[in-house]
């Protein structure tokens, strides 16, 4: 651009005007480039940001960027061409700068003729005399025009605004569902009525982080917790708790959507029925938990959760390993939750038993003890009754009913017994944690009797 602007060898006035035209044309081009560049760069930048945040796939980005550049270039061309100063316009500017009284415009536009040649020659001489007053770089410097400032400010504002919006959205939605679930679990753990769900959520979060856990299992767990949340929501009166439950529910829904519902049917199937331990023998008898060794209580659900191989509770917190006996109680409860046939009485009995456990009885010893009168599967059958093939010959079986069946059956039973009570009575036990003494109005604890203790504890 500056090549022809060096120390000027003033040619003829007409040449000088042509140089001025080129100079001004370049300035106009720069004007449009600097005016159109900020918005184009801003859009490209925002597209890149959206891409890096995974809000935009690569293909649209690849198509968008060239398209924006092409549109910008076209805009420059179409806006630039009409603004390129004509020779008369440039000559007019020269006249104004050199105070040449329209000599340049006359020289550059008048057509030569024999009668006008002497006049033109004289005019050219006069114009040459005024050329020394003008220097292109000095008298026609390039200055950024107002549109550039507007463009730059607008583009910056657009970038900042989009960043703020994106940050806001990312801050809100950028928390992973696992984190959100953990937060909710933490909040719920401080509220006694929701503590059990909180622990379930904590366990779910752990499983979600665990890549070894099958997606079907995660999905079924999510569904299970969702149902429990729904039940708790029906029962819960306090607004804050309701809010927490709603939040948890929506988070789980979003998780469910993410998982895409794959293997949902399979998971439902896997959630119920009777399975033999023939191939899984001992899987539920993992290591003792550091907290006290109630690990055998997790057998029932151990089939569903690989974690249970290690004696962990299906819904237990991995961090709870080594925690006190509460974790053991958790395991117990989780293991027994699916059993819908337990009555109120057995629940109370179970609570009493658990109290004993808490007082120092070794869970390991108990879990190692096999019932003396045959495998449990056979003990539950009437004499002469044939069970399913899958459990034939099994030393013991673990039974887990689908939660829906459990809930339905218990609900029906309760309703048939006492319709009035059934409204407040939970269909599925929610916690086996002993109630704190300082919460007299806490809902009655519902607990199921583990199958092993059905005939032992009264």
């Amino acid at each position: 651009m500056q090549g022809y602007l060096g120390k000027q060898d003033h040619g003829s006035p007409e040449d000088f005007v042509h140089r001025l035209v080129r100079h001004l044309r370049n300035q106009v081009l720069w004007d449009f480039l600097v005016t159109f560049s900020p918005p184009i760069l801003a859009i490209i930048y925002l597209a890149a940001v959206l891409y890096t945040e995974s809000w935009m796939p690569a293909l649209p980005l690849v198509m968008l960027v060239p398209a924006i550049i092409v549109i910008g270039a076209l805009a420059v061309v179409f806006r630039y061409r009409p603004r390129v100063p004509s020779i008369p316009a440039a000559a007019h500017l020269m006249d104004a700068k050199a105070e040449a009284q329209d000599r340049f415009i006359t020289l550059t536009t008048v057509q030569s003729s024999p009668s006008s040649d002497p006049m033109l020659a004289r005019l050219r001489r006069e114009a040459m005399g005024t050329l020394s007053r003008v220097e292109l770089r000095r008298d026609f410097p390039y200055r950024l025009k107002q549109p550039f400032y507007w463009s730059a400010i607008s583009s910056l504002a657009l970038i900042i605004l989009c960043h703020l919006l994106l940050n806001g959205t990312l801050t809100k939605s950028g928390v992973s569902p696992q984190q959100r679930i953990r937060e909710l679990a933490e909040q719920m753990s401080h509220r006694v009525p929701l503590a059990e769900i909180g622990r379930s959520l904590q366990s779910l979060a752990d499983k979600l982080d665990d890549l070894k856990v099958a997606s079907e299992e995660k999905h079924s767990l999510i569904e299970e917790i969702q149902k429990r949340i729904a039940q708790e929501q029906e029962r819960e009166q306090e607004q804050n708790n309701q809010d927490l439950l709603s939040d948890a529910s929506s988070t789980l829904k979003s998780l469910e959507q993410e998982s895409g519902g794959q293997g949902q049917a399979e998971q439902q199937n896997a959630g119920g029925g009777v399975q033999s331990n023939a191939s899984q023998e001992g899987h539920g008898e993992g290591k003792d938990s550091e907290g006290g060794g109630d690990e055998s209580k997790g057998e029932a659900s151990a089939q569903l959760n690989p974690d249970m191989k290690d004696g962990k509770s299906a819904q237990g917190n991995s961090q709870g390993k080594g925690q006190e006996k509460d974790s053991g109680h958790q395991k117990e409860q989780k293991a027994n939750q699916p059993d819908p046939s337990n009555t109120e009485k057995t629940t109370d009995e179970s609570a009493g038993k658990m109290k004993e456990n808490a007082e120092g009885r070794s869970g390991k010893n108990r879990s190692d003890e096999m019932p003396k009168d045959g495998p449990p599967a056979e003990r539950y059958r009437k004499p002469g009754e044939q069970g399913p093939d899958s459990i034939k010959g099994a030393k013991y079986v673990t039974v887990q009913l689908p939660e829906e069946i459990a809930a339905d059956s218990s609900g029906v039973t309760a309703a048939s017994k006492d319709g009035k009570e059934s409204k407040n009575r939970p269909k599925v036990p929610i916690s086996n944690v002993p109630l704190p003494a300082h919460l007299p109005e806490a809902p009655a604890e519902k607990q199921r009797m583990p199958l092993e203790y059905r005939d032992v504890i009264r």
Partner: protein, 326 residues
């Protein structure tokens, strides 16, 4: 002739006239421009401003013949152009053409609006055709020929305003304005003492030839196409056309706009102005300088303009603001 000589002669003429006429510098220049452009000038002003003196002085400085016609209501065309008179020559009586006062290089038509339209029209042919026809016989007027008409904007009773067609034949219409106090003091000093101005002829004896050369040179002055375009747009803008905005002064106050003669006058006047400045090309400033005298009498105001006391110059002001230079 070269432009320097033109400028020298022109400035000499101006200086010579200024020896007698105090002030009116612009009027003097414009009259001279019109003279070299081959046009006629209508001078308008109240009595006593020196209009007649200006014309007389100018013709004296130019060294050309000068006649004055005092227009009155009973003035007949033959009193201007001349008539056939019966004369006895060699024992025979023949009609001989007796030239009227129009046969001069510079004719002062004083208070031209006091004559009847019939008499005014007698001047019309002379101004445009540079010839007069008497009894079917045409008589060519000697070049240079210039009519300087004066009219009084007051005392309009018993006057016959010039028709548009005749007004259009005037190259310029110049407004002779009252002198400033300084000028008035100078006028008093010059006219109430014993000293008289010692005027000299600027142009040589064969001034006619020189004047014609100067007129030729004036037409050779260069005009850039954008400047011509500017003049065209200005003159065109005086037309009260439907496409003009309804609230534009042209639509509001004008009945008719300028004729093409207006544009011709502007260009020729601008050329004369440029040459008088020693330039061989017309500038935008030249155009705007002669725009008002060239167009003001060609823009026919309507009743609303007269009722609201809007002048053609005010409308021109608006037009100059509206029409861009290029």
């Amino acid at each position: 002739m070269d432009p320097e000589k033109f400028q020298e002669s022109f400035k000499g003429l101006e200086a010579e006239v200024r020896k007698v006429i105090v002030g009116h510098n612009d009027t003097i220049r414009k009259v001279l421009i019109a003279f070299f452009a081959g046009g006629h000038v209508l001078l308008e002003g109240v009595p006593g401003l020196g209009k007649t003196l200006l014309v007389k002085t100018l013709s004296h400085a130019l060294g050309v013949s000068f006649k004055r016609i005092q227009f009155t209501p009973d003035l007949m065309p033959s009193d201007i152009v001349g008539t056939q008179v019966l004369e006895e020559m060699n024992g025979r009586r023949e009609f001989q053409f007796k030239q009227g006062p129009i046969f001069a290089h510079v004719v002062l038509a004083d208070e031209i609006n006091r004559a009847t339209p019939k008499t005014q029209s007698a001047v019309l042919e002379a101004m445009e055709e540079k010839q007069v026809t008497v009894f079917g016989e045409s008589h060519t007027l000697e070049s240079p020929f210039m009519v300087l008409a004066t009219q009084n904007p007051i005392e309009l009773e018993g006057t016959y305003p010039l028709p548009e067609a005749q007004l259009d034949r005037f190259f310029f219409k110049l407004l002779v304005i009252p002198p400033t106090p300084v000028e008035l003091r100078e006028i008093l000093k010059r006219t109430t003492g014993t000293e008289t101005a010692d005027m000299q002829e600027v142009l040589p004896e064969d001034g006619g030839q020189l004047i014609n050369e100067m007129k030729q040179l004036l037409r050779q002055v260069l005009v850039a196409p954008p400047i011509e375009d500017y003049v065209v747009r200005l003159v065109h803008a005086t037309q009260p056309q439907p496409q003009n905005a309804a609230n534009s002064p042209v639509r509001q106050y004008l009945r008719f706009g300028s004729s093409p003669r207006g544009a011709q006058s502007v260009i020729l006047g601008a050329k004369g102005h440029a040459l008088a400045d020693g330039r061989v090309h017309v500038s935008y400033d030249d155009v705007e300088n002669v725009l008002y005298p060239a167009l003001r009498h060609r823009m026919i105001l309507n009743f609303q303009a007269e009722a609201e006391n809007v002048s053609a110059d005010q409308i021109m002001d608006e037009l100059v603001k509206q029409v861009r230079r290029n």
